[in-house]
């Protein structure tokens, strides 16, 4: 039977992270909990929206950036992964891919009903992967959906992992160069609440096995969408795949190429050419996430 947790407001992320860490040694089992976390009537804080727009390069207006809604959904995702019945430790998980379907523009004044659950536990060649599925409705109409795939390194689940897949074909055209400042992790943490230590200070990042502080994957996804915010249609699917993390400070090169009415996006290290993120924006919510 599905267990439902109803939240009256978004949970604070700091205590959730702490709880998740404490529970780490007691996690067992290899099945996802049948759990739905809900928040009804979520409202947008316009100051948070303005700060988010500033950090992620969106113009400030009344339509919510599709990636801003992820920020509203993320605490509920974290609540699912911090739940005692969730089989893997939250800290150290890696965000692999993210796919957002915007069914229509969502306005800052609308009352949002959010629902999140975990699904599709399957092997990955480096461990186990899980989809966190989110759905946002306004007065019963689904306006926005998301599937965020997380990797739990070294965890084993039955089945055969898919191959790595072919190496991406990179564009040869020059792109825009963005300077990513060393404090972008702290700045995005301030607008998103995602205070994972790997994004805050180099010490925290080193403790968790990274050479230095890394930018949030969802910051790069947001920044890329921000650069194209006036070129996207009202209904679209925005899918990204995170590759090598952006070690900050850094300069990254952003290439967006249009094919018919779709966009292919590539974010690489401006100096070395290593790929940070691949993405696409496809008009008309052709698929829904179920």
């Amino acid at each position: 039977m599905t267990r439902t947790v109803e939240l009256s407001s978004a949970p604070a992320l700091g205590p959730l992270f702490a709880k998740a860490v404490i529970r780490t040694p007691f996690r067992k089992g290899r099945e996802l909990p049948d759990l739905v976390v809900r928040q009804a009537g979520a409202a947008v804080d316009r100051d948070q929206l303005a700060a988010y727009a500033d950090v992620c390069g969106f113009d400030l207006n009344d339509a919510l950036p599709a990636t801003f809604i992820h920020v509203l959904v993320f605490p509920l995702q974290t609540q699912v992964m911090a739940d005692a019945a969730f089989p893997f430790p939250l800290v150290g998980s890696v965000h692999l891919t993210n796919s957002i379907v915007q069914h229509r523009p969502v306005l800052a004044g609308e009352s949002l009903d959010i629902e999140v659950r975990a699904a599709d536990l399957r092997p990955h060649f480096r461990g186990a992967q899980v989809d966190l599925l989110a759905e946002v409705s306004v007065a019963g109409e689904i306006v926005w959906q998301e599937s965020s795939t997380y990797l739990f390194r070294g965890q084993k689940v039955p089945g055969v992992a898919a191959d790595r897949g072919p190496e991406p074909v990179l564009p040869t055209v020059p792109g825009a160069v963005w300077r990513v400042p060393g404090d972008i992790g702290r700045r995005y943490a301030a607008v998103s609440g995602d205070v994972n230590p790997i994004h805050m200070r180099s010490l925290g990042a080193k403790a968790l096995g990274f050479p230095t502080t890394i930018a949030h994957g969802m910051w790069s996804a947001s920044r890329a969408l921000g650069a194209l915010s006036n070129r996207t249609p009202d209904r679209f699917t925005y899918a990204v795949e995170f590759k090598k993390p952006i070690l900050i400070p850094s300069s990254v090169e952003f290439v967006a190429q249009q094919h018919d009415s779709s966009w292919d996006l590539v974010l690489t290290n401006a100096r070395k050419g290593t790929v940070h993120m691949l993405g696409s924006i496809v008009p008309e919510a052709a698929t829904t996430i179920s």
């Binding site: 400030l60 009344d62 006036n230």
Partner: protein, 426 residues
């Protein structure tokens, strides 16, 4: 090729907000983009390449050197739409309209957007001028020694930012102080100013109530009406306010009968008859002619905001019209006393003869035709956005009436005045 007719095809603005309030986090670029995008959405111009977009801001950051082009690149217009910035103090929006209208008339372009944006909430703060010079000197130093010796000249007093000044550079007086001098010279009373102010609030409120602004204003950041609007405003309430400009018996100007600092943006769509037809757009009004004047308020004997009567006199003469040949008068209310001084001057035989060189005074106007949908005292006055607000309002008034002619008059800092004539399109 003879000039073509130019038409106002539509207008859009965001509601104006009081400084430091609802638009505190919005930049000029955010607001101008929102105003343009609302206009684009309403007239189905997504992806369209327009002839050009001309707009500007009066209070401007150094980084906004290409403000209008950046707004276009962030809008739903085609990125191949050219753009440039215009800056003529409070005349910016109307002057931008004149510029694009002239290009359309000459056949150089077929369509354009003119507009403006201003925010005193997100105003630039400059570094102290001494500090700026020291830093520049250090920057140009050729040796580390020179650089250090330049930087050692920094003093704590230089770390305070330069305060933005609301004053005329050549007189040191604020606009309000200048206006108080002119108001006294013309004997404009406190009561007359407060009455004009109440009329502005009542007219604007009534226009909102009858849905006049439904296709001229797009809500922004949760604001749906101009925040400064006080429909319940009355002469009794206004009479309790303390004067803020002028001294002694010249102290008639209050925060009520002066425009407050305001944030906002506006945009107006113009085009040739053919372009309008091709895009299935209804011409609201024909842009007939315009004139800009300037007065010597520095050493001459004229008030800072008194250029409009000079511009009106020349514009009427060129078009063979009298001041009474209009169905609507849109006189920008920088201060209530500004409007009253203009009206008094145009009625005054001595002023019209000695200053304007006219045998007969321009005469009086039918006050029931003045600012009939409210003006800056009620709506607020985000400097560069006022021209677009007025052009769109007058064009729609003329379209509603189906005939007639309207006069726009806007005074500006530096002793400038921009005026224009619109006619209902047949």
């Amino acid at each position: 090729m003879s000039p073509r007719d130019v038409f106002v095809l539509g207008g859009n603005r965001i509601p104006f907000a009081r400084s430091g309030s609802k638009y505190l986090k919005a930049s000029n670029q955010d607001m101008l983009t929102a105003a343009i995008d609302g206009l684009v959405a309403r007239h189905h111009l997504q992806g369209e390449r327009l002839g050009e977009v001309a707009a500007g801001a009066v209070i401007k950051h150094a980084r906004d050197f290409n403000l209008t082009r950046e707004a276009v690149l962030g809008s739903h217009l085609a990125p191949t739409t050219p753009a440039y910035d215009v800056q003529q103090a409070c005349g910016t929006g109307l002057e931008a309209t004149v510029l694009v209208a002239n290009k359309i008339a000459l056949g150089q372009i077929d369509s354009a957007i003119a507009g403006g944006s201003d925010t005193t909430s997100d105003a630039p703060l400059a570094v102290n001028d001494d500090l700026r010079k020291t830093l520049l000197k250090a920057n140009y130093a050729k040796t580390p020694r020179q650089r250090i010796s330049a930087l050692l000249k920094i003093r704590p007093s230089q770390l305070a930012p330069e305060q933005p000044k609301n004053g005329e550079p050549r007189t040191g007086l604020s606009m309000g102080d200048h206006m108080a001098i002119t108001a006294k010279a013309w004997g404009v009373t406190r009561e007359a100013q407060d009455e004009l102010t109440v009329a502005s609030h009542q007219h604007l409120a009534a226009a909102y109530d009858r849905g006049f602004f439904d296709d001229l204003v797009t809500p922004y950041l949760g604001v749906t009406r101009d925040q400064n609007l006080r429909p319940e405003s009355s002469v009794e309430k206004l009479s309790t306010l303390k004067p803020v400009f002028g001294k002694g018996d010249a102290a008639t100007m209050t925060a009520g009968n002066s425009t407050p600092l305001t944030d906002g943006a506006s945009a107006v769509l113009l085009g040739s008859r053919d372009w309008a037809q091709q895009h299935e757009l209804t011409p609201l009004a024909r842009f007939v002619d315009a004139e800009t004047a300037a007065v010597d308020y520095v050493f001459g004997d004229e008030g800072l905001l008194m250029a409009p009567p000079y511009a009106i006199a020349r514009l009427l003469q060129r078009n063979g019209l009298t001041l009474q040949d209009f169905d609507f008068y849109e006189i920008h209310e920088a201060f209530a006393s500004t409007v009253l001084c203009h009206l008094a001057a145009m009625e005054d035989p001595a002023f019209c003869k000695e200053r304007l060189g006219l045998d007969e005074p321009l005469g009086s106007i039918d006050r029931t035709k003045l600012n009939v949908a409210g003006s800056s005292l009620a709506a607020g006055h985000p400097f560069a956005a006022t021209g677009g607000r007025i052009v769109a309002t007058l064009a729609k008034l003329l379209h509603e009436k189906g005939s007639g002619r309207g006069l726009i008059s806007i005074c500006a800092a530096g002793g400038l005045g921009v005026v224009a004539i619109l006619e209902a399109s047949e």
